[in-house]
Point group: C2
Chain length 292, copies 2
Amino acid sequence: MDIAFIGLGIMGKPMALNLHNAGHTVFVHGRRAESMTPLCDGGCTRCDSPAEAASRAEIIIVMVSDTPDVEQVIFGDNGVIHGAKPGSVVVDMSTISPTATRRFADDLRARGIEMLDAPVSGGDVGAINATLSIMVGGKPEVFDRVKPVFEALGKNIVLVGDNGAGQVAKACNQIVVAVSIEGVAEALTFARKNGVDPAKVRDALMGGFAGSRILEVHGKRMLDNAYPPGFKTKLHRKDMNIVMQTAHELGLDLPAAALVTEHLEVLMNAGDAELDSAAVMKVVENLSGMER
Amino acid sequence: MDIAFIGLGIMGKPMALNLHNAGHTVFVHGRRAESMTPLCDGGCTRCDSPAEAASRAEIIIVMVSDTPDVEQVIFGDNGVIHGAKPGSVVVDMSTISPTATRRFADDLRARGIEMLDAPVSGGDVGAINATLSIMVGGKPEVFDRVKPVFEALGKNIVLVGDNGAGQVAKACNQIVVAVSIEGVAEALTFARKNGVDPAKVRDALMGGFAGSRILEVHGKRMLDNAYPPGFKTKLHRKDMNIVMQTAHELGLDLPAAALVTEHLEVLMNAGDAELDSAAVMKVVENLSGMER
């Protein structure tokens, strides 16, 4: 298939490459010209704008950072709408606001262009190995059309509901992960303050109801007091902003999510934006004067 | 081995039976006389007091509800200390305060009696099937002596540390479970308020980093809006009281644990003490006016 891929960062670059390697014709555009070079050397086609990439493809994938970036790429000067053909599909794989997503989908549909929101989890490792989880919102028939493309990028591919539902699922994922990190951090701090080896406690808990990927992976980072990302605090903070903003729009009270969002903010202010978000442990330790 | 078993409730009864079936000689005592009958019919020996049971055994297991109950059984009138022989071991499998546990261990040791704290997780199903997780605090040589007894009761048996460490691990378990329930409840409420099917969201999340036993088992109860226990709210509330009391003694700030403790209290006040503690979902829904 002819696919435009816009946004060639730590996630987008390996994803575009996987599409090329799966036999698709990939038209790439990145904000930084040098981001396109390795992909074009590998056989993708360089495009000078989102509009140009969109004009040459039937599936237009967007993989950028935040809601304003997606809006700019699709609707801005030289944006996707200035090139996309009626009947093409915009697939936004960025993690952005569900509310803005529904608006973007409506605006595109008014121009005869379909949209799917399809945010992912699994990080750069999942992007490289094509093992991303992909949470999709949109019409079933559009999902079916794009599914072969998703299958070149990930494994657990779920159509969650209508436009925006993919972003809602991703927001839910980030809530569960954030609150679980907080729970593990508080438990391991409780163990340490009681003079009990937190590593032994983690062992004892792993098999039972307290067992989780977060206890296993993030818990290990906490034990080691070492937070190489993984998933950066600044990105988790950005995603929790989306959660809290959406909750505010809907009149939803999410007290634990709000609490962890605060802890991520404290980390940001302490200059730890680049650490894995398991570093919430540092905030929890500091609350009780237990810095290491 | 000759084993005293004191406390024949929903947990203690099947545990005592498993010990008998494993070939041990079991001397039982329950506060309610009728609780002893089925066990004595099955071959255990009835004792009229904790002191009498203790006097006939080398391992004395206590499985009651809370810290004051354990204190009464061990140190009260006709308590264990009035019968236990020097060299015997008191194994407290109740979930109680780590601080009180250390005091009890010291007081017993002063009389030549060893103690292990060995709280469990896995509920009545784990007790019946002898698949409990057992978190143990005490001396390694005492642990080794009692280990064959534990192996007739459970599977994941971990010596976490010195006296009190088992109770600390259990408290950590209850923190992680409680905070994880809150996280899943907030995420599924977020989905529902966004008009997205929470069951689909749970499916999409199960394979990734948000996946956990809590999302699987407690998440299902939340989707069904049905909360048969499982683990009762009143017991989880009691365990979180131990957590918060211990945290207070140590000057520890555990904000998410405190938040969920509040939510369990709200449930209690609403008359939902007998529901599974996944019913925290009801509190989260009510916060945003989403009662069902």
